[in-house]
């Protein structure tokens, strides 16, 4: 959660286990090392990587983000002489602990730890095993509060047995309102996920520590908005970098980057922070007791964070849907990857989605094609072709820059407003590549394929492409057999695309086009 560095010498809990404890035997001794807690980073940088397994067409699921990020934090910590445990609070919950790199410590790191236990009623109880606590009982009749010392003799798995001066008792089996009061929080329990390092210093020092780690639970993609001209031959292309943070940790005023391209990852086993809820059971209570047997209900666990926050950062709007933005990411080469840098620090908040402009291009040349895939497996088939926007990622077409994968929304202008006419996606596209955006299925263009003779191994077919539009449309039929398929068109020139026959034709306004062809599949 950012804020000022708060180097704390934690004098917690166990200092109390001194003279007064003599009445009861107490286990556990205070460790010799000092604990320094760093509550949050002073400066943070986040580089978000796209989930390599998520195809371009699948949108991000904000409840289940499988990309990752490299987080680099600078923290100022005052280190005492001797051995110290430095606790880095406020690291991402999705931290991959083995990826953590800690630098800037005067005498290096002895060991790194990541404690999966969070502070909760259950962990408080569990960690207090064998320690002295206070048992507080309140009389319902008089309201009188009575406190006595006790030592916890059982773990938190379902029940608590306490040792008091009177002997051994079970918590919550008395029918009285009773609770345990602790003298402090056991060390190693934080409210938030925590990474800690052990270090040894010959003298007290003020250190600027850099902590870098990979964290899961973030993802990003591009989101393109294409606005077609009335003729449909040009489009304005605008794009966002959309970053999503599904972690419980916010990165405040972070230098923010996103990396496009696929990089190899290995599976890491990750232990989720544990926050078990506490449910205590007791022996069966009979009805001979006149005390009320009302079991105190523990407060309900806080709901799983479903907070989501969307941030669109800094773009100046002219009047259009997305005009020239004031802030736009800059692109850099990063080995064989592409890095997009947000030019000013932004906050990538917990459970939020943030958008920064990626690119804006006017007047990009584009063509709309209706493409049907013909298999010939059926004797009579009515196919709705796919609507495809096609361009080439070149300067001539008005593009010529890397296009990272993401969703595309295509708008046209109709009835005096922008009208969505297709939603599709584009994979990572390098400069000079052909870009095809498959945006929905045709509504009034059909391909009717009838087998006139033969069977599905060897047959004669007639393809009739029809259009209900008052203007000519581009139609393509791709014949989707395998490499062993012999295709022969009758009286028409048929090209090839990706090794498959492709018939390209313009269907006249309110008209149709026909192709007779033969398919022969070797057995």
């Amino acid at each position: 959660m950012g804020g000022k560095p708060r180097p704390l010498f934690a004098g917690l809990g166990l200092a109390a286990a001194t003279a007064a404890a003599a009445a009861l035997p107490v286990a556990g001794a205070a460790s010799a090392q000092a604990i320094v807690t760093s509550a949050g980073p002073d400066k943070v940088s986040v580089t978000v990587y796209r989930d390599p397994e998520r195809p371009a067409a699948r949108p991000m699921n904000l409840e289940w983000l499988n990309g990752f990020a490299l987080v680099s934090e600078v923290r100022h910590v005052a280190i005492p002489a001797g051995e110290t445990e430095i606790r880095f609070e406020g690291v991402a919950g999705g931290i991959v602990p083995e990826s953590a790199i800690v630098s800037g410590l005067p005498d290096g790191v002895i060991e790194k730890n990541r404690d999966a236990y969070l502070l909760s009623p259950a962990s408080l109880l569990d960690r207090s095993l064998g320690k002295r606590v206070h048992l507080r009982r309140t009389s319902r009749a008089t309201g009188a509060v009575r406190e006595q010392d006790a030592v916890i003799r059982s773990g938190a798995d379902g029940a608590v047995v306490l040792q008091t001066q009177d002997g051994f008792e079970a918590l919550r089996c008395t029918g009285l309102p009773e609770t345990i009061v602790y003298d402090g929080v056991p060390e190693g329990l934080s409210a938030k996920p925590t990474l800690s390092v052990r270090t040894r210093s010959s003298r007290p020092a003020e250190a600027a520590i850099t902590l870098s780690y990979l964290a899961s639970g973030l993802d990003w993609q591009a989101n393109y908005v294409a606005t077609l001209s009335p003729s449909g031959e040009r489009m304005d292309l605008f794009a966002w970098v959309t970053l999503a943070n599904g972690d419980e940790t916010s990165f405040v005023n972070a230098d923010t980057q996103a990396v496009a391209g696929r990089l190899n990852r290995e599976t890491v086993d990750r232990e989720e922070p544990e926050e078990p809820s506490l449910a205590l059971t007791c022996w069966p209570s009979a009805t001979t007791s006149d005390s009320p047997t009302e079991m105190p209900v523990p407060p309900p666990p806080p709901p799983v964070a479903d907070a989501q926050e969307i941030i669109v950062t800094a773009f100046a709007s002219k009047s259009g849907i997305a005009g020239a933005p004031a802030v736009m990411v800059s692109q850099e080469e990063l080995g064989d990857l592409k890095l997009y840098r947000v030019p000013e620090p932004v906050t990538v908040a917990s459970h939020s989605q943030k958008q920064v402009a990626l690119l804006a291009r006017q007047n990009v040349k584009v063509e709309t094609i209706y493409r049907a895939t013909v298999t010939g497996r059926e004797d009579d088939e009515l196919i709705r072709p796919v609507r495809i926007l096609k361009t080439r990622n070149r300067r001539q077409e008005g593009l010529g820059l890397p296009l990272p994968a993401g969703g595309v929304a295509v708008f046209g202008e109709g009835y005096a407003r922008p009208v969505l006419i297709g939603e599709g996606s584009v994979d990572d596209r390098a400069v000079d590549e052909i870009v095809e955006i498959r945006a929905g299925e045709a509504n009034g263009v059909f391909a009717h394929v009838v087998r006139t003779s033969g069977d599905d191994d060897r047959g004669e077919y007639q393809l009739t492409a029809t259009s209900d539009q008052p203007i000519p449309v581009r139609f393509e039929a791709e014949f989707g057999g395998g490499p062993d398929e012999i295709f022969a068109a009758k009286g028409a020139k048929v090209g090839r695309r990706n090794g498959r026959p492709l018939w390209s034709v313009t269907i006249p306004a309110n008209g149709s086009a026909q192709l007779r062809f033969r398919l022969d599949r070797k057995s």
């Binding site: 309140t138 105190p296 907070a307 950062t313 945006a439 008209g511």
Partner: protein, 473 residues
């Protein structure tokens, strides 16, 4: 009461009538401004909300409550004259006791304990240490779990954290050169708003005509009411495989498609690309959880006829007679039919009973259908018209050739003659050189796979069709 009227003209079709507009608009508090919604078939809408915003000079934070609860955040854009957007936030982090406590971790609260016997209250300040599966508090130097002993204890928070809200809220930090009120347009896509078409079709069998009323059925499950919205409906698919592609029937046995022949005529409607646009003539309030119906098509006296169809698979023998499909056939062409394109939806067919009341005889789904198409809508299976296909004989006539004799027995319990289209399919399922060597009625080869016979079956009578097929194997 069915909304069937006997109009004698085709004039109404271009008009869209609001059928369920409440007389007095509900006085609902909303922060929405001038709202325009564009609604697609496949559960998707584009919302444009132009609000009058009093913007002070320099930086200010403005809130936009009452956006759709299902807003797709990556599609949000905001524009306005002379303003620069510094940052947009959308919070649907809603205020709840759990959230309040979660956000209070590390902060101080006030704890008020009530003495169970006397009711006396004691106040203490406490620091919330953690809210993981229970609330851990530090009171003075001691650690306690909130309400662990079940005794009454009130927690009083000093304030509500800034981003916890009562309703989903978009907030924007603006930079403006000058102060003043100006329109600012917010636009976004949202699921939860969608529409489909419902066709009420009254079939007059004797006259061979249908009257068709098309209704748009609009549904809103966004969680938000769109007040006084300028509404445009768009027919067509914008997403791959999304929406109500009603020709798709999963793994059910293959049935003939509803569109028998796609049309190539352009309907007299507003278009954009291959989409048809259906603007509503008046602004309307689309309430949350509301279903609204609007008429968009009203055609009387279009030609239509009933047909019986039966499809037999190769070497199919039925142990007992099977009902033929009842299919209503009509066209969407300008000259011979409805004269309009039909957005995807459900066609419900009614006929008048002996008392003149309309009764339901079946329904089927149609996909987006261009004008000029020929449709065959299966409404059900005929009670009185049945077909029993039987493989009479299989004979080996050479090492590789077989002779298959089929007998199809038709029965008709109706008082008039019917015509049954019998399709024998599977003719190319093994080898393609299947020939029909003998037949008692002339067939029509529809494709290499299918032959069709148009078999007249006399009133209250039977008919028999025989055919002999020469096949390899």
């Amino acid at each position: 009461m069915l909304p069937l009227r006997g109009k004698g003209n085709n004039e109404m079709r271009s008009a869209i009538l609001l059928s369920v507009l409440a007389a007095a608009p509900a006085v609902a508090q909303t922060a929405q401004g001038d709202v325009a919604v564009t609604i697609y078939n496949d559960d998707l809408a584009l919302v444009q909300d132009t609000r009058q915003l009093a913007v002070p000079a320099q930086r200010s934070r403005q809130e936009f409550p009452d956006v759709s609860g299902q807003i797709r955040p990556e599609t949000v854009t905001l524009s306005g004259e002379g303003i620069e957007i510094v940052e947009q936030n959308f919070d649907f982090d809603l205020l709840s006791p759990g959230k309040l406590m979660e956000k209070a971790v590390g902060q101080e609260i006030t704890l008020v304990r009530t003495n169970p016997a006397t009711g006396a209250e004691t106040r203490e300040r406490a620091t919330v240490l953690a809210a993981n599966g229970g609330v851990v508090l530090r009171i003075g130097s001691r650690i306690e779990v909130l309400r662990d002993d079940g005794l009454p204890a009130r927690v009083i928070f000093d304030k509500v954290p800034e981003n916890l809200r009562a309703r989903p809220t978009l907030s924007v930090t603006l930079q403006s050169a000058h102060a003043g009120t100006r329109p600012v347009r917010l636009s976004y896509l949202t699921p939860g708003l969608g529409w489909k078409a419902d066709y009420v079709t009254l079939f007059d069998e004797r006259a061979g005509k249908i009257d068709v009323q098309g209704w748009v059925t609009l549904t809103n499950t966004t969680g938000t009411t769109f007040t006084n919205a300028d509404t445009l409906l768009v027919a067509g698919q914008v997403q791959q495989g999304g929406g109500s592609e009603s020709d798709y029937r999963g793994y059910q046995p293959r049935r003939p498609p509803t569109i028998r022949k796609p049309g190539t005529e352009t309907a007299g409607r507003e278009r954009l690309g291959d989409f048809y646009l259906y603007p509503l003539p008046e602004r309307t309030t689309i309430a949350n959880r509301q279903t609204k119906q609007v008429s968009f098509l009203d055609v009387s006296g279009a030609p239509a006829h009933k047909a019986y169809e039966y499809r037999n698979s190769w070497l199919g023998t039925a142990e007992e007679a099977q009902s033929a499909d009842t299919v209503l056939k009509f066209s969407t062409s300008r000259d011979q039919g409805l004269g309009d394109a039909l957005p995807a939806g459900t066609v419900r067919v009614y006929m008048r009973d002996a008392h003149g009341n309309a009764q339901f005889i079946g329904e089927n789904a149609i996909g987006h259908t261009p004008m000029g198409s020929e449709l065959g809508v299966k409404t059900g299976e005929a009670f009185d018209v049945k077909v029993q296909p039987v493989v009479e004989q299989r004979e080996r006539i050479s090492s590789s050739r077989w002779k298959t004799s089929m007998r199809y027995t038709f029965s008709n319990a109706r008082p008039e003659q019917v015509l049954v289209d019998l399709v024998q399919a599977g003719l190319d399922s093994y080898w393609d050189d299947t020939r029909i060597t003998e037949e008692s009625l002339k067939s029509e080869r529809r494709s290499s796979d299918q032959a069709v016979w148009h078999v007249p079956v006399p009133a209250n009578g039977t008919a028999t069709l025989t055919a002999t097929f020469d096949t390899r194997f």
